[in-house]
């Protein structure tokens, strides 16, 4: 890879690609860029909690049907707004790309659907706080997170009637992976997490002494009066846990096709650092193999990567929440709404005839303000279909135009290809240039090039 290719590759994986304002970074060394990414990530930028006077139970009880309906609508709107806020934040030039990307990664890993927006915001801010910290702290914080406690039924996990749901997913999906524990381990772990409840109103962890099983448990070969914290400790003592997370990290940040040598190396760094996520990620981004040609463009962008990426490049502003939600729903990735606790499968699963056409047409929809030719599937709670005629999206091309100001007209399309694509594409004399022939000003020509390039299947990979 050339230096520019390396930097772009890094920024696509550790973030959502470079924005036109970042063009000077093309000349940075990898070391400098990595240091900068981690430095920016140190400042925590939590998602803002929307102001909302949540009515008490008594107040809700005294409400009329219409008032209750309005309340539900308002809460749904808040949930949508929170989603839009986060996507806007991911695309913002003042956010830390790495912090946003890590938070998104862990959101997919600890996949959870929240009952209400305030639980969702709390959870995502908890994840954000630990996204580059200690994995042990992260797992513990998730185990005490209200949204997760409700989602995986730990609220029903009592000494008298243990509920195994959280214990099972903690091991199967969040830490060690299938095949490394027994059904007995699940039962014992569930006992250790009894009484780990949450307060629905406040969204806080609420340990209930009376529901907790203080008895002896035997878990992964150890015996003691374990509680949830001990269980997490024991799981993290197993080398399989580091390997499981390293595999996931490799497939998400490096290449969907696992490479055992590199995964083993990542796992070792992770385990030797007592599960320091930042150390692990730094190791990945600073490894030579990360910049190997075969990793470049090896990922199909997730809908969020696609949406945030195009938004950064074109300086998009979204006029309303629906314009941010609709693409997520129709492209198959709505944040805060993973398909199930296993998260989004990713890769080729993002692609079918409908999602591909929408992706290829997306730049056209923005540039030509064309009508949407599709409807989203309805949500079961709402009888109405997800109809939206037009997206309220505006582009600000000025920063991008600045970056190619000094480029000769003959080199424009190839320069833009290099900036926008993570795979090679020879645009000289291609249909991309053909389509721009009728453009009579430099700006129109650039716009035609952008439209062409962003309509390429090549634009869908990073």
């Amino acid at each position: 890879m050339t230096n520019q290719e390396k930097i772009q590759h890094l920024y696509w994986r550790a973030g959502f690609g470079l924005s036109p304002n970042d063009q000077d970074k093309h000349n940075w060394s990898v070391t400098k860029a990595v240091n900068n990414l981690f430095k920016e990530a140190q400042k925590l930028q939590p998602l803002a909690m929307p102001k909302f006077d949540s009515p008490s139970r008594a107040e809700i009880k005294s409400m009329s049907k219409q008032e209750r309906k309005d309340l539900r609508k308002e809460v749904q709107q808040m949930t949508n707004d929170v989603n839009a806020d986060w996507v806007r934040q991911m695309a913002s030039t003042t956010s830390s790309p790495l912090q946003e990307k890590m938070t998104l990664f862990w959101h997919g890993h600890f996949a959870c659907e929240s009952k209400s927006f305030h639980l969702a915001v709390n959870q995502i801010n908890t994840i954000r706080k630990h996204s580059l910290g200690s994995f042990k702290d992260l797992v513990l914080a998730i185990s005490k997170d209200a949204s997760m406690i409700f989602y995986l039924n730990n609220q029903q996990n009592k000494k008298s009637h243990p509920n195994e749901n959280y214990a099972r997913e903690l091991m199967e999906l969040f830490t060690i992976g299938r095949g490394n524990y027994t059904e007995k381990d699940i039962k014992e772990a569930a006992r250790a997490f009894t009484g780990w409840f949450a307060n629905r109103q406040l969204g806080t962890f609420n340990f209930r002494d009376k529901a907790h099983d203080y008895g002896k448990k035997t878990f992964m070969g150890k015996t003691g009066n374990f509680d949830g914290t001990d269980i997490v400790d024991i799981i993290l003592e197993q080398k399989e846990t580091a390997e499981y997370i390293a595999t996931k990290v490799y497939r998400y940040f490096v290449n969907p096709k696992p490479n055992t040598t590199h995964i083993t190396a990542i796992a070792k760094v992770f385990r030797d650092s007592d599960y320091d996520i930042a150390k692990m990620m730094r190791y990945v981004f600073e490894s030579d193999w990360f910049y190997s040609q075969k990793n470049r463009g090896s990922k199909i962008k997730s809908p969020i990567e696609f949406l945030v990426g195009i938004s950064k490049t074109l300086g998009l502003s979204f006029g309303n929440t629906q314009s941010l939600l609709f693409p997520q729903r129709t492209l198959g990735q709505t944040i805060f709404r993973p398909p199930n606790v296993a998260g989004w499968p990713g890769g080729k699963a993002w692609i079918d005839n409908a999602t591909l056409m929408l992706r290829l047409n997306f730049a056209g929809i923005i540039f030509q303000r064309s009508e949407l030719l599709i409807n989203a599937k309805e949500m079961p709670e709402m009888a109405k279909r997800g109809k939206l005629k037009k997206l309220a999206i505006d582009a600000n091309l000025q920063p991008l135009l600045q970056t190619v100001k000094k480029i000769k007209e003959a080199d424009l399309s190839n320069t833009l290809c290099q900036q926008l694509l993570q795979v090679d594409f020879e645009s000289k004399d291609s249909f991309i240039e053909q389509f721009a022939k009728t453009a009579n000003t430099r700006q129109k020509k650039i716009q035609a090039f952008l439209l062409g390039i962003m309509s390429l299947p090549e634009y869908q990979v990073c």
Partner: protein, 398 residues
């Protein structure tokens, strides 16, 4: 030699392979059973989204518990279309009575799965993937069918703009289309034409090749479906609602000899927590009238014996009505199979037992995957176990 565009598109999956790195997803084209399936039967799936109230659909009109538990929303005995000593149809299903009498309809009660989940998403997920309730699969049961027995890229067609999980496979997925004309508009653009040509002339790495291939397939399927949709225009009168429109489209494609084998249609709005009566009546009426028009259409064209319609919902609803003249999420529900060639018509099993409930919910005694297994094995004539990853006992209906 010049190859016409149409011909090229039609064959692109095969011809384009020659000069490029063959991605793994294409390799199967040689070895797999691609030319003919074992069966030319058509399967039409109608999904009721939101959880249809089974007890008010097939009504246990002799059951006192039913009337006790539902003082406001029970279907009056005098309104029920009585088909057995115990059970009858919701009056809105009137247009299906003839079908039932004719032996073209089979009703399966108490359909569900172990450890039922009362969340719409999760339960629909389970129905779509045919997983256990503590298991998470990222492919649908029809998607896995396509992965093993793919003939063409619109072999399973969802009449919608986006594709459901049920039709998602790993290497092959179903095709989503709500309107052939509209689809054709999105693929008949200069850029798409240029991309298809570019694909033909260049080699690409795996992911990019996959995207180009999906695009080429989309264009060729769109062309094909657009042509087929023009071949026959139904003279049958269908209700003007969305389901009626979709089923008319399906009938037209079937009658014009379209090589799609599985059609997937959704009717939503069944989440009747409040004021259920009006909503459910409207939906069931739309369903019954659309389906009966559809079947008339197929019968007139001698296609009914080769077509099977399955109707399901992600769960039934609680036995006891709630405080808003509605019902909350429940468990087991009923499932309908319709065809001109049923081996066993009428009621397949006993009515729901309202005396033995699990926390107020019906207890399933028919795993929905037995129905899937039956359809795969007996109707589509493929190895059901390879698709469902487990063995399920087939029903003697098909």
């Amino acid at each position: 030699m010049s190859i016409s565009r149409r011909k090229f598109l039609g064959q692109s999956a095969l011809t384009a392979v020659g000069g490029m790195l063959i991605p793994s997803f294409l390799k199967g084209f040689d070895g797999r059973n691609t030319l003919l399936n074992n069966s030319s039967n058509k399967l039409v799936i109608i999904q009721f989204s939101g959880g249809n109230d089974g007890l008010n659909t097939i009504v246990p009109y002799q059951n006192d518990i039913y009337y006790q538990q539902r003082p406001n929303i029970a279907i009056k005995k005098s309104d029920v279309i009585k088909v057995t000593d115990e059970l009858g149809f919701h009056p809105a299903l009137k247009s299906l009575q003839g079908l039932y009498d004719n032996g073209d309809m089979s009703i399966i009660n108490n359909v569900g799965y172990p450890n039922p989940d009362r969340s719409h998403f999760r339960s629909m997920d389970i129905w779509h993937t045919a997983s256990n309730s503590n298991e998470y699969l990222s492919t649908g049961w029809l998607g896995r069918y396509l992965d093993k027995h793919n003939n063409n890229n619109h072999q399973a067609l969802e009449m919608d703009d986006t594709l459901s999980l049920a039709l998602k496979g790993i290497e092959h997925s179903g095709f989503a289309m709500s309107d052939p004309k509209r689809l054709q508009r999105t693929v008949k653009t200069p850029i798409v034409k240029a991309l298809v040509k570019h694909h033909h002339d260049h080699d690409h790495e795996e992911n990019v090749a996959y995207l180009y291939q999906t695009l080429a397939n989309t264009v060729s399927s769109s062309d094909y479906l657009f042509e087929k949709a023009k071949t026959y225009s139904s003279s049958q009168s269908y209700p003007k609602n969305k389901l009626g429109k979709s089923l008319k489209q399906v009938a037209e494609l079937i009658i014009s000899g379209c090589d799609t084998q599985v059609y997937y249609v959704t009717l939503g709005g069944f989440d009747t927590h409040a004021n259920q009566t009006m909503t459910q009546e409207r939906l069931l009426k739309a369903y019954a009238e659309s389906v009966s028009a559809f079947i008339k259409d197929l019968k007139q064209h001698n296609q009914w014996n080769d077509t099977m319609v399955m109707t399901f919902s992600e769960f039934g609803r609680r036995v006891k009505e709630n405080g808003s003249r509605g019902t909350d999420h429940g468990t087991a529900g009923n499932l309908f199979l319709m065809s001109g060639k049923l081996k066993k018509a009428g009621f397949y099993n006993d009515a729901p037992d309202l005396t033995t409930l699990d926390k107020g919910d019906l207890i399933y005694n028919m795993d929905f995957r037995r129905v899937y297994a039956t359809l795969l094995d007996k109707w589509l004539k493929v190895d059901d176990q390879a698709i469902l990853n487990r063995q399920f006992k087939a029903l003697s209906i098909v």
